[in-house]
Amino acid sequence: MGAPPGGALLRLLLDEMISAAVARGLGALGHDVEAIKRDRPELEGLNDQELVSRMATDQRAIVTNGIGDFQPIHDRVVGRGGEHYGMLFTTDATLPRDKANIPTWVATLAAFLEEHEDDAAMRNRVALLHPGRT
């Protein structure tokens, strides 16, 4: 994995429903991934819109299973000509949240990060994460 010429790599923030163990696993592979509870406790008090705005400033894409809460924010922000730094959606059906599936989470997100290296690759975009596909 290498940085694109003159650019940084895509960075992620894991929402609180995702184990910080996933961030640790990705960190061990050299990716810049933060978990709210472990790395950014000051974000725990923010609502979804505030979190999206904050991550636009921090230039991190948000990984969350809150599709119903975040997709409307994406639609609103982009519709108004605003900016966010990306939303990666997960579902409990394809990526269950238990210890046994943490390696699958790490592999899925690592594959996505390797396919989308540019730090702005997800700017104003959403994606649905699916194991085995990026």
Binding site: D15, E16, M17, S19, A20, A21, I36, K37, R38, L43, E44, G45, L46, N47, D48, L51, N65, G66, I67, G68, D69, F70, Q71, P72, I73, F89, T91, D92, A93, T94, P96, R97, D98, K99, L128, H130, R133
Partner: protein, 141 residues
Amino acid sequence: MAERAGKRSVAFRFGDELLEQLRRRATESGASQTALAERYIAEGLRQDEHPLIGFRDGAAGRRAVLLGSRLSVADVITTIRQNENSVEAAADYLEVPVEQVEAALRYYADFEAEVDERIARSAQIAERERQLWERRRAALS
């Protein structure tokens, strides 16, 4: 006493300063003063019974969360279910104290239908998005 759709009008006496705060907040949020007052009373009563639970706005509706966090009760319950109904395993996965998972479970026991409705709605939205994503992939292949 006026009655409408299962609701009744009752009279309370509040101080001027509190009423002004309510008016100001209603104007800021676009909600009616009655709707706001009802929400504050309902959530206040719930928080008296469940002091480790708070409430947070979201596009999919207001949700119960672990106090001081973004973690919804619905997500905690789903995590328990995905970890063989083990409170300890869910706490271990989420890296939160067992007491917080127990607090979410206690809230769920009181408001089961409401939390289950949110879980079911989230699952429907996720499935709809998954199908949309599959169709999009098929269109591009």
